[in-house]
């Protein structure tokens, strides 16, 4: 039982936190507030799912925030261009979404190839991509926000029916969860993160799997950018700044090890929710934004410390 709790502690922490806050604050438990919490978590959760794939291999992806911004900008520019060219709104939105996700896939694949074939450390490659993608977003948009999106674009972000982004996120997390636990590719990612040497000598295609992990992380980042643009009905080249760190924090709060080989998408989603719930509560209590930053920062470290402590006690990890 203690092992079970230790293994799934992010879920228990989230549940305990929600119950406590719901009991304490009437506003928190209101439907409108819970809806907004869930919606606002969706982009971070999608980013975290992608980053998790990379973290499992023992790597890191710092570029997802910038790639999301680039994806959002390209998506919106494509939609506006297509609509202006007379393409029906719905088709334009679909193609624009593909463009946004596609550029993410391209950036991620480039990351993966540079890391494996180029043998450059992941931190460096994705740091470079973080800067370059942000720069590209500013260049193609001319540094301006892109407004005036057609109505059909608002669907994805919940502008028409509130639960769309939530369902999309849940589906992505569920697919990732099944992929990681039930497929050969998922097993390969865990094995690579556990021991790259042993995985290679067991016949795992180490480089192929790593490139795929970065590519998927990029794809999900591009898609998250599209979601964000749709929810805010504008694309900003400065959007999603620092989201990469929030996504990494979500994975880590969810028990992922930055050494690789450990973690899961459901737990990462819980990690993302824990952060949003805390921020939401601070807002409701009128705690100043600056103090929120301090509070969330302290809590991230404290939660990870507690998680490790529980796992060590339950004998799930050793020093």
């Amino acid at each position: 039982m203690t092992r079970f709790i230790a293994k799934h502690s992010p879920l228990f922490i989230l549940a305990a936190l929600c119950l406590a806050l719901a009991a304490y604050s009437e506003v928190f438990r209101s439907t409108a507030n819970l809806q907004s919490v869930a919606t606002r978590t969706s982009e971070i959760a999608v980013l975290a799912t992608g980053v998790l794939l990379v973290i499992l291999t023992g790597g890191i992806d710092l570029s997802v925030g910038s790639v999301a911004a680039l994806g959002g900008v390209l998506c919106c520019m494509a939609i506006k261009a297509l609509v202006a060219a007379g393409v029906p709104d719905v088709l334009a939105v679909f193609l624009g979404g593909l463009a946004g996700a596609g550029v993410g896939l391209g950036c991620g694949t480039l990351n993966g190839v540079l890391i494996t074939t180029g043998r450059i450390p992941p931190f460096i490659v994705t740091l470079g991509m973080m800067m370059a993608a942000r720069g590209m977003a500013l260049i193609v948009s001319g540094g301006n926000n892109i407004f005036g999106m057609p109505d059909a674009f608002l669907w994805l972000g919940g502008g028409k029916v509130w639960w769309v982004p939530i369902v999309v996120t849940v589906v992505i997390v569920a697919v990732a969860s099944v992929t990681l636990s039930q497929t050969r590719f998922g097993r390969a990612l865990y094995a690579i993160g556990g021991s790259l040497q042993a995985a290679r000598l067991s016949g795992i295609s180490v480089n192929g799997s790593r490139v795929a992990a970065y590519a998927l992380s990029g794809l999900l980042a591009g898609f998250a950018g599209v979601m964000l643009a749709s929810r805010t009905s504008l694309a900003a080249p400065a959007a999603a700044e620092m989201y990469e760190l929030e996504a990494i924090a979500a994975c880590v709060i969810g028990g992922a090890s930055l050494m690789g080989g450990e973690g899961g998408p459901v737990a990462a989603l819980a990690g993302a929710l824990i952060m949003t719930v805390l921020r939401n509560f601070c807002n409701l209590q009128n705690i100043p934004v600056y103090w929120q930053q301090v509070l969330v920062g302290v809590l991230v470290v404290a939660l990870v410390y507690y998680d490790n402590y529980r796992k060590r006690k339950a004998g799930l990890i050793t020093d």
Binding site: R184, G194, A199, L201, S202, I204, G315
Partner: protein, 502 residues
Amino acid sequence: MITGPLLEMRGIGKRFPGVQALNNAQLKLHAGEVLCLAGENGAGKSTLMKILAGAQQPDEGEIIYLGEPVRFRSPHHAQQLGISMIYQEFNLVPQLSVAENIYLGRAPRRSGLPIIDWRAMNTAAEEALARIGVKIDVRRPVVSLSIAEQQMVEIAKALSFDARIIVMDEPSATLTDHELEHLFELIRTLRRQQLGVIYISHRLEEIFTIGTSVCIMRDGEHEGTYAVHELEREDIIRKMVGRDLKDEFPKELFPQGRERLRVQGLSRAHAFEDVSFALHEGEIVGLTGLVGAGRTEVARAIFAADLPDAGEIRLDGETIRARTPKDAIAAGIGLLTEDRKQQGLVLGMSVRENTTLANLNAVCSGPFLRGKDERAAASKYVDELRIKTPGIEQAAQFLSGGNQQKVVLAKWLFTESKVLIFDEPTRGIDVGAKAEIYKLMNELLRRGAAILMISSELPEILGMCDRILVMHEGRITGELSRAEATQEAIMRLATGSEAAAV
């Protein structure tokens, strides 16, 4: 001066999740004694030593040190009180000098200043080495020293803490015979200085060479402590294993079948040159030689872990051109690496996941894993190989060395490879588990596999191989049949003092 024992550990118990690692373990060490700690893997030797070193706390029992009950709170605390450990993997910082390593974290300062007094430190380090009769330039970086020299530095470092007790865990594993003789001489010096030495080794003959008494552990319990002269080799094995081990090397001869693997003119720059040999169905060919002769490199090249520069590899008559281990595995070659913790296993993964890792095809439909088949496969091997584990979901890191090696074996059995290369398959494994691994090799041969066994342990090579290839400085210097092979003949070829025709 105390009259009683230097150290006494009584009724020590320690539980880990799923296992009782120690149960009423005992140990008594007198000054001037070399106590050998013997037992199978998983018998609790390491745990008992970790408790002595302060790295782990016992659940029950007491420790009497220098006549007083103590508790070693941390490795630092134990060291301060005079207990020094020398592990198989050295705790030296490669880039720092010998003197810096000996005085790491406690370098002498210039009076009143936070500046290291290099001259004082180097002089003190020289004295520490002189005390054990070793001459090494203390300014050299540790990385430039041989393994044996590094070990001497470790011992000098241990003594510089005014150690009363020195624990050596498998100190001989990586030493040549000559270096080992030097180590024994040093241990005798320590005895004369009235230190207590606890010596752990899987090589039983060393117990008789250097030990004064032997403490045997079995299943976490104290089996007994004996004076070395009371026992024969067979007695120790029987007490460790808990039963008679009829045959240390259960060699079975199989009719030699068709050629499975042929290696022709294999070369790799700076590693080995022009290596040619063949492996037949049902035979074990030994590949031996001194450390650094290029044996592991040949194995890695056949397995495509490193690519050879020239040469041909044929499997069942067909040339294979593997570019990665994945290709080699698909062709039917398996490699059990020397380093099982880093390369053989994913330690954080379960027994189940490790078992199927090299042959996920067999438990997959398309991209999806068939969980039920996977669990069945893992359970089957746990039973067949008698892997001691609380279950197939246990992480490999929590198993003992012998059981870890069995999991590696399970992984390769599951691939149904035609040719298996075993690199030092029994290093650090106790006699009981060794015999089981040899029996599994027999089983593989019965199923038509061919085995190449790399080993530095000549008794094992002589006991289990049908033919023996000897390497010296990257070349095969000779081949011996089972009948004509002797330790002397192998050593002559291995040292290059005689180049026989291949």
